[in-house]
Subunit: 350 residues, 2 copies
C-alpha cells in the first residue's frame, strides 16, 4: 500500500482533458488497491507563459522535484509556431524541464493492437505482431546545443559526449535483454561525427551484453524500414532528433498517435507523458484520445513497482479498444465516444 505524490503539468490544448482521464484511472486504481495518489497541479507551457511570463515557473520545477513522479499532458500553441521572432516559447519550458530533471532517456513502446489493425494505414500483414520500444536520448544533441543567429544566418550545434551516449545505451541493452534480445542503433554515421561516436560507444558496450544482437541502420533507411517491415524491430536506440521523428512516424503502426505513451527517466524523478502534442484544434471539444496518457499512467505505476496495477490498466484499455469505446481518431464520429466517456469506461474496468 503506497502513498505517492504526482506533479501534474497538464499544459496546453488537449493536455488538461487527457490528464484528467489519466487521473481518473489512477484514482480508480488507488480505490481498488488501497493506494493514495495525490496530485499537485502546476503550470507549464503556453498556459504558464500567459500566467507568469515563464513557460517553466520556478514553482513548477520545485513541485516536480518534490514529487514521486510527474504526469505531463502536452504543451504548445500555434500562436508561437508561426512567429519565428517569439522570444519566449512553450517548448522552452518542456526542454528546460527535461534538462533540469536530467531525463536523459525517453522510452516509447509501440505495439500494434490486434483490434486496431484494420484502422492502420498499413496493410494488416505488415504490422500484425509488431512490437518495438524506442530509447530516445532526451537531453542532448541538437535540441540542447548552442544555437543562435549570425548576421546573415542561424546555427544549431549538435553535440554528444561518450557519457551521454553510454548511459542510455546501457538502459537500451538491458531492455533488449528482457525482450527479444535485439538492439538497433539508428544513426547517420556515414555523415555525422556524433553518429560515429554513437556507433563507437555502442560497439564498445556490445561485448558486455553477449545475449543482445546489435544492428546498425542509417536513419534514412530506418524511416523506410519502419513502414516496410516493422516486425524486424525490438529495441531501437537513437539520438534526440532522430528519435523525435521516428517515434512519431512509428505511431502509424499503432493506428493512432493518440495511443502512444512514454516515460522519461534519468537522474531524479521520472516523467510520464503521451507522445502526441497539444492538438489545439481539438481543445475543449472533449474529443481527444486519452489512452496515450492513461497508458503513460500505467508506465508510472510500473515505475512505482506496481506491476499488477499497471497491467490492470493496460487490460482495461484493451477492453475499451475491444468494445470500441474509443474516440474519433479510431472510429467514425457517429460511432465514437468522448474523451470523458473513454476515461470513465477505462476507470470502471480497473
Amino acid at each position: 500500500i503506497l502513498t505517492k505524490k504526482i506533479a501534474v503539468l497538464a499544459g496546453d490544448g488537449i493536455g488538461p482533458e487527457v490528464c484528467q482521464e489519466a487521473i481518473k484511472v489512477l484514482n480508480a486504481i488507488g480505490d481498488r488497491f488501497g493506494h493514495t495518489f495525490t496530485f499537485d497541479h502546476q503550470l507549464m507551457g503556453a498556459c504558464a507563459i500567459d500566467a507568469t511570463g515563464d513557460p517553466l515557473p520556478e514553482e513548477t520545477l520545485q513541485a516536480c522535484f518534490e514529487a514521486d513522479a510527474v504526469l505531463l499532458g502536452a504543451i504548445g500553441d500555434p500562436k508561437y509556431d508561426n512567429n519565428p521572432a517569439a522570444k519566449v516559447r512553450p517548448e522552452q519550458g518542456l526542454l528546460r524541464l527535461r534538462k533540469s530533471l536530467g531525463l536523459y532517456a525517453n522510452i516509447r513502446p509501440v505495439t500494434a493492437y490486434e483490434m486496431l489493425i484494420p484502422h492502420s494505414p498499413l496493410k494488416n500483414d505488415r504490422i500484425a505482431g509488431a512490437d518495438m520500444i524506442f530509447f530516445r536520448e532526451l537531453t542532448g544533441g541538437i535540441y540542447f546545443g548552442e544555437k543562435g543567429r549570425t548576421e546573415d544566418g542561424a546555427y544549431d550545434n549538435c553535440t554528444y559526449s561518450r557519457f551521454e551516449i553510454s548511459r542510455i545505451a546501457h538502459l537500451a541493452f538491458k531492455a533488449a535483454q528482457n525482450r527479444r534480445g535485439k538492439l538497433t542503433l539508428v544513426d547517420k554515421a556515414n555523415v555525422l561525427e556524433t553518429s560515429r561516436l554513437w556507433r563507437e560507444v555502442v560497439q564498445e558496450l556490445s561485448p558486455s551484453y553477449p545475449d543482445v544482437k546489435v544492428d546498425y541502420l542509417f536513419v534514412d533507411n530506418a524511416a523506410m524500414q519502419l513502414i516496410l517491415n516493422p516486425k524486424q524491430f525490438d529495441v531501437i536506440l537513437t539520438e534526440n532528433m532522430f528519435g523525435d521523428i521516428l517515434s512519431d512516424e512509428a505511431s502509424v503502426i499503432a493506428g493512432s498517435l493518440g495511443l502512444l505513451p512514454s516515460s522519461s527517466v534519468g537522474d531524479a524523478v521520472a516523467l510520464f507523458e503521451p507522445i502526441h502534442g497539444s492538438y489545439p484544434q481539438a481543445k475543449g471539444k472533449n474529443i481527444a484520445n486519452p489512452i496515450a496518457t492513461i497508458l503513460s499512467a500505467a508506465m508510472m505505476l510500473e515505475h512505482f513497482g506496481l506491476l499488477q496495477e499497471a497491467n490492470l490498466v493496460r487490460y482495461a484499455v484493451e477492453e475499451a479498444l475491444d468494445k470500441k469505446i474509443v474516440t474519433q481518431d479510431l472510429a467514425s464520429p457517429i460511432m465514437s465516444y468522448s474523451t470523458e466517456q473513454v476515461g470513465t469506461f477505462v476507470a470502471s474496468c480497473v
Copy 2:
C-alpha cells in the same frame, strides 16, 4: 538534334549495373531522335578510394565540370560504415561533389504508380493518387557544418544562411506554381533556430507567390502525415537532413525505393541519380531495379529541354511496370526479371 556529353559516376555496389541500363535507354533515345550522347566514365566513392585513395579524384570533378550533365549510380560500402574511425569514406566524395558543383537543390518526385499500389505496404485508398515532389536542400545544414571530436565527445554544426534558404525556396515556389499550388515547409521551428530562419524566409517570400498556398509542418508530424495521408502533399520544401529522412520514408508510397529518381541542380552542371543506395548485398547479381536510374535519365532529358524524349522514357517505364517486366523488389523471385532484362525492355519501348 543535340549532342550531349554525360559524365557517368557509376560508383559502388549496384551503381554500375543500374547506370548501364540508363545508358542503354539514353542510347535508344539517341538512335530514335538523332541525338548523340557520349559517356565519360569516372571514378567516385569506394571504388575511387580503392583505385586512388581519394573518393573524388580531381580528374572526376574536372570531367563533371566539362560535361553537360552528370549521371550518378550509387556510392557506399559497408566496410566503412561499421568502422567509425575510418578517415576516408565514400560519402565524402559525394558530399564534396555536391558542394563543388553547387548542387543546392535535390529534387525528388514521388508518385504512386497505379499498377504498383498492391505492392505498397500502405493501404490502397491511402496512396492512390498521391503525387508529391521534394525539394531537399543539398549543400548546407548539418551535413556541411563544422564537425569533429572533443576530448570526450563529438559535434556536428548545423548552419543555414538566408541566401541558402531563399534560393531553393524560390525553386520550390515556382514548382508549386506549375503543379497544384501548394507548398509545405517541413522544419522543427519549435526547437531549432535554423528552422525558425527557414520559416522566416519562406514567410517573407510567400507574398511574391500569391497563387501558392504555404503550409508549415513540424518534421515529426510530417513523418507521420506522409504515411497517414500522403495525398495532402504537393511540393515539400525542407533542409538537408530532414529531406534525406523524409524522402526515403516516402519511397514506401511508390512501392519501392528502386523507383525513385532525383535531379540535383544549382550553380553549374546538373546531376541525376536514383535516391537508393549502393545495395552491396545485390552487387553483381543482376537483380537491382534499374528504374530509378532510368527515370533519373528521363529527368536529365527534360533538363536538356527534350520533353518529348523524357516523356517517352516515362511511358516506356510504365509499360514495363504494366507488363510486370520488373525486378525482385516488385515481384516474387520466380516472376521477376533481371536488371538487364528490365533495361533492355524499357529501351526497346522508346
